[in-house]
């Protein structure tokens, strides 16, 4: 893989083993050049020596150091490690026996470096390996020479984030001293880490591991680290060189074709720290919280912006698809099997909280090579790998969260297709991938992350709207299949209801404080500022119609009034104009005048020949303020019968007019012209007028309430009195009507309380004399009082 020329020869990555055989130096150089600053072997070696020296010291000191430097870990891990350390005890590693990892599970590697949860068998394997001088010899040969802290690691540089605290040596016990002493500042330079405790072959052995194996170990180891400051990560991982875990693994790999590759490939050295530190810092920088949460479907607002890829130090044991060690039981076509829970955990969990128990031991033990160590499939793995590791080709992948948007029929078809395809392609793909040391650069978590983003874009609140043809097509297919299949199969194919994203109203309401005056001016992308606070008022049709009608009528009235007014003005100005006009125009002017007057009269009349006035019209006109004014000005110009008729109409409708006039109070404009009209009336007309005024029952009372009405009444009465007093042969007394009317008026006047009797505009003087004719003394007195 390090030689490009091989590409054009056989187009395969996995050259023969010979192809990979190169000088160590060449490989190292290549790594240096290509992959940047790597691990620092010097420190690693120094660390090794130091550890070896420390080994002789009291184990207690080591323990203390351990406790001091520990990062947050998980108790189960500690327990597991305790067990393994106990086991080691028996194996004869006395100095380590005192190791009790109560606190930190993190990078503190014990002899077993079993961060993955203390796999007993694994630790055993490792022990064996360590004890094996042959392997040690091989490892020693591979040990790279000391070099500055330039790049050492190959692809582990890309996994810089992956590395926290992976122990290089079997015992990094004394290592925690480092962070203990320098707890605050990040270490950009690797301090002398713990050296292997009397296990020289340890580190070199790790160099024999394949890149992938290291990956696994790294990831395992860093799982409990969760979200930590970069400082702490590097502090703790300082002294650790390449992965050391797998001496045990290596043992069993001897036979596999991988071993040769492992030997040749070498191991990635420590990744450049400073660079990674910065990278870490950047990704951990917390953006300010949003003012409003994004719309549906977006991931929950977190501290880390969406664009950042997932952090590495998660358990990536899931990425076993390509693990060379897993070749045995699983044909690659099977693919990753995840329980739904696992999947949910992956998708939803932050870096931190991945349960240790879940990923459990790495998949390394699952390889065929480790069969002898287990009676059966390792229990922790059981729930993660759906089928037991005996290789099931035709399993149904569990429903995943991110595929719930598929039509169920579609999913079924895809499943079938996948299964059939998996069996065919399994072998070849597996072989190829098994020899690719660079595979799985993209971790499972990252793949899930990208998938998640892609699926998010597919979310839809209305699938029929967004993807109509897709839905219909699969529905049809389903129907067709149902028709074709017999009823027995019906229960087998259970209907899946694809969950849809709920259509939730996401109206953003800006922050408001109760009791404060005004609103905060808050404006964001999701909530732009409102320019106009417009409120929609809807009216029903009926209301609108009615309103419209009313307005139309009023407008009509106003229009009529205006028209009449203009005519009236012309009529009024006639005289002036007539005088001023030259001789020849006077005729025309006169003609016009006549026309105008007729028109005016006609406008009030019901019919052209009839003198009766259209009551309705009059009242309508009078309902408008201007109309009243108009009438008052018009009355003098009307011919007397018509004028009388108008006055009659007024008195007839006085209550209504009075009501309408409540706001304007301008009825009194009419007094003068009306009085003029009244004085020209005949007696019978006058009587009629009085009768009209009295009108129906109770009208008089209303009349008396109204100023104009009272005035009018008095006017009428005084006129009558005048008539009687002046003209001896007045016909007023011819019929009893007048008398009766006066009587009723008197009665009314007496009965009405003084308060409700509104004072008239003026009091005609002869009223008293009128009343004296009809009433007796005592009533007269009362009336007098009232009228005063």
């Amino acid at each position: 893989m390090f030689r490009f020329q091989s590409l054009d020869e056989d187009c395969t990555l996995e050259e023969e083993d010979e192809g990979l055989v190169e000088d160590e130096d060449e490989i190292d150089q290549f790594n240096d050049d290509t992959f940047g600053a790597g691990a620092i072997d010097d420190d690693w070696q120094e660390e090794h020596k130091r550890l070896a020296g420390l080994e002789d010291k009291d184990g207690l000191g080591a323990e203390l150091a351990l406790g001091g430097g520990g990062m947050g870990g998980e108790s189960d891990l500690g327990a597991a490690q305790t067990s393994t350390s106990t086991h080691l005890h028996s194996a004869g590693h006395a100095p380590l026996s005192s190791l009790k990892f109560s606190l930190s599970s993190s990078e503190l590697p014990s002899d077993v470096d079993d961060r993955g949860g203390g796999d007993l068998a694994e630790s055993l394997a490792r022990l064996i390996l360590e004890a094996d001088p042959a392997i040690a010899g091989v490892g020693a040969a591979e040990r790279p020479g000391p070099s500055p802290s330039s790049s050492r690691s190959s692809l582990s540089a890309l996994q810089g984030l992956n590395r926290p605290g992976v122990p290089a040596q079997p015992s990094s016990i004394p290592h925690p001293i480092q962070p203990h002493q320098h707890p605050q500042h990040p270490q950009h330079e690797l301090p002398p880490g713990p050296s292997a405790s009397g296990l020289p072959p340890g580190p070199p052995l790790s160099s024999m591991l394949s890149y992938q194996q290291q990956q696994h170990l790294l990831r395992r180891g860093t799982a409990p680290m969760a979200q930590m400051n970069s400082h702490s990560i590097w502090e703790n991982s300082m002294g650790f060189g390449p992965v050391s875990v797998t001496p045990g693994l290596v043992t069993h790999m001897e036979d596999s074709p991988l071993m040769s590759i492992i030997k040749e490939v070498g191991l990635p050295k420590r990744p450049p720290q400073s660079r990674n530190d910065e990278v870490r810092d950047l990704s951990e920088r917390v953006p300010p919280p949003r003012s409003s949460s994004p719309v549906i479907g977006s991931p929950p607002v977190r501290a880390v912006p969406i664009g950042t890829p997932p952090k590495q130090p998660m358990s990536h044991a899931l990425n076993h698809q390509n693990s060379p060690l897993c070749r045995g039981p699983f044909p690659p076509g099977v693919g990753t099997v995840l329980s739904q829970i696992q999947h949910a955990q992956l998708l939803n969990s932050q870096v931190a909280g991945f349960p240790r128990g879940g990923p459990g031991p790495p998949l390394l033990p699952v390889g065929s090579g480790f069969r002898p160590f287990f009676g059966g499939p390792p229990p922790p793995l059981g729930h993660r790998m759906g089928p037991p590791p005996h290789g099931h080709l035709n399993h149904t992948p569990p429903i995943r969260h991110n595929t719930t948007h598929l039509h169920p029929q579609h999913r079924r078809m895809l499943t079938q297709r996948m299964q059939s395809r998996g069996g065919d392609r399994g072998r070849t793909g597996g072989d190829r991938r098994s020899r690719d040391p660079y595979s799985n650069l993209m971790t499972q978590k990252e793949k899930e992350w990208v998938t998640k983003i892609q699926m998010m874009q597919l979310q839809s609140t209305d699938p029929y709207l967004d993807d109509y043809y897709y839905q219909n097509y699969y529905e049809k297919m389903e129907k067709r299949q149902d028709r074709e299949s017999d009823s027995s199969k019906k229960e087998y194919t259970t209907k899946l209801i694809t969950p849809q994203v709920a259509k939730v109203e996401h109206t953003y309401r800006p922050v408001q404080f109760a009791g404060s005056l005004g609103k905060l001016t808050v404006s964001s992308v999701n909530n732009p500022r409102k320019m106009i606070d417009a409120v929609v008022t809807t009216r029903t049709d009926d209301e609108e119609k009615r309103e419209k009608q009313v307005w139309n009528k009023r407008r009509q009235i106003l229009y009529t009034v205006e028209k009449m007014y203009s005519m009236l003005l012309e009529v009024q100005d006639f005289e002036k104009r007539f005088v001023q006009a030259p001789e020849e125009d006077r005729e025309a002017l006169l003609e016009r005048h006549k026309t105008n007057t007729t028109q005016l009269c006609n406008s009030l009349r019901e019919k052209e020949w009839d003198n009766r006035v259209n009551d309705e019209q009059c009242v309508m006109i009078m309902s408008v303020r201007k109309g009243k004014r108009l009438i008052s000005r018009l009355l003098p110009f009307l011919p007397s019968p018509q004028a009388a008729a108008v006055v009659m109409a007024i008195s007839r409708n006085l209550p209504a007019l009075a009501k309408k006039d409540k706001q304007d109070q301008v009825l009194c404009w009419l007094v003068e012209p009306v009085s003029a009209v009244i004085q020209s009336l005949s007696s019978s007309t006058l009587t009629d007028l009085l009768q009209e005024l009295q009108g129906s029952e109770g009208q008089l009372a209303t009349v008396l309430h109204n100023k104009f009405g009272v005035t009018l009444l008095y006017l009428i009465l005084s006129e009558g009195e005048r008539m009687q007093s002046t003209d001896p042969n007045c016909q007023l007394m011819d019929d009893n009507r007048w008398t009766e009317l006066v009587f009723s008026v008197t009665r009314e006047l007496l009965s009405v309380p003084s308060s409700s009797l509104s004072p008239p505009l003026f009091m005609p003087p002869n009223l008293l004399s009128l009343f004296s004719r009809y009433v007796d003394r005592q009533r007269l007195d009362l009336l007098q009082d009232k009228l005063q």
């Binding site: 893989m1 990555l13 598929l406 650069l441």
Partner: protein, 133 residues
């Protein structure tokens, strides 16, 4: 295994050998190692293959990161299929030389063509492939 069945996703193409054609006309062959939501690609052991006539040459380039928007097409290379025997591989220098000659010839013909058009009073505006806006 398709992580997103029913849709197209590059997840399944990871760690496989691919051929990608870029917008500037380059052809890259390499192992697709990583992708992201914009279809930015990370190629490993990339080789730029230059074709001139029946000859081709490979220039090793190492690791390539291709911005998604610059990809014209991307296809997996089937390792099982036999390689094309029609094309003849030559050394890098030779292929570059051939390419240079080809470019030169093209320029010459273009020049002649433009001149001919100009003589006739026509002109073809040069299409700007890099900027669609």
């Amino acid at each position: 295994m398709n992580y997103v069945p029913g849709t197209a996703s590059l997840i399944d193409d990871i760690d496989k050998k691919h051929l990608v054609l870029l917008r500037d006309g380059r052809t890259l062959i390499g192992y697709l190692r990583s992708i992201d939501q914009f279809a930015n690609l990370v190629f490993h052991q990339t080789v730029e293959r230059i074709h001139v006539g029946k000859k081709f040459g490979d220039i090793p380039r190492g690791i390539f990161i291709v911005r998604g928007e610059n990809v014209v097409l991307l296809g997996e290379i089937d390792m099982d299929k036999p390689c094309d025997t029609v094309l003849q591989q030559v050394s890098i220098e030779e292929i570059l030389e051939e390419q240079r000659l080809q470019q030169q010839a093209k320029q010459e013909t273009d020049k002649v063509k433009m001149q001919a058009l100009k003589d006739r009073g026509l002109s073809i505006p040069k299409a700007d492939n890099l900027d669609e806006y």
